[in-house]
Amino acid sequence: MAAADQTDKARLDEAFSQLYRAHLRDVYSYSYYRVGNHHDAEDLTEQTFLQAYRHFERAQRESDGRPLRPWLIRIAHNLAANYYRDRSRRPQTPIDDAGVISAPHTTEALVEDRDDLRRILAGVDKLPDDRREALIMRFALGMDNREIARALGRTDGATKVLLHRAIRQLEEIVKRDEGPTEP
């Protein structure tokens, strides 16, 4: 019996290792865009995997063969919410140093391009939490509507509407921040 338990635990640990390897970048990207800095994103990522490990057996049992990425991101989402509540804070600096934005640019076109991306990120930062998160899941993690719906605990239909409204609102914010255009 004890040997069987050990085998089950070994199998579970191996499955968890695979989940970890497959989704470390997803969890980190989500965390980074949620909290806006690498230091807190690392803590959030670490906590997410510790929580996930603790509840992995049950999640696997109840997943019915469906991918576990939405479950993992939901843990990160809940921890990020606790994080802000406990510390009564929001990101103190806008997200601006990830990937392409921090890369050195030389030509005028590239500078303009970088400014466009910066405006987009500033706009994302101004969105309500649920809309911002939906965009992060779609564009940073490449999750489809069904996965996002599971991560946010919504229906597929409600998620589609949420994404649509998030993009519309972001367009308005970006347009407004650009100021009136010349006739």
């Binding site: 968890f16 690498h38 994302v124």
Partner: protein, 114 residues
């Protein structure tokens, strides 16, 4: 416009790679959990770690910069697991000792490698 903004979003929100230091730290912590018996895990109270002040962060691991070094830290840390388990009086204590060992080994490997 919508297509424009979607392509801009895709580029602005590009995936972010975690650092090697984070990978090493996480693998070490998860490795120590894998070592714990099921009943120890049951007793392990994660709620005590919800407080950000208690979050695990062995800063010395930041000195690690290569995959080989990361592996070495983990191997050395794993070697001491029986001693740690014997000395610890609770799962939380075991985790804390493991993290301390990781930090110490990270410093040693950093001295050796760099």
């Amino acid at each position: 416009m919508s297509a424009d903004i979607e392509s801009l979003l895709k580029r602005a929100l590009s995936p972010v790679e975690p650092s090697k230091e984070l990978e090493a730290r996480l693998e070490g912590t998860l490795g120590s959990l894998v070592d714990m018996a099921a009943e120890e895990l049951e007793a392990w109270e994660l709620s005590s770690m919800r407080d950000p002040r208690n979050w695990v962060r062995p800063v010395a691991a930041a000195a690690i910069g290569s995959g080989a070094a990361v592996g070495l830290v983990l191997v050395r840390t794993q070697r001491r697991r029986h001693k740690r388990r014997k000395e610890s009086d609770s799962p939380a204590d075991l985790l804390s000792r493991t993290v301390r060992d990781l930090a110490r080994e990270a410093r040693r490997v950093a001295d050796d490698v760099f």
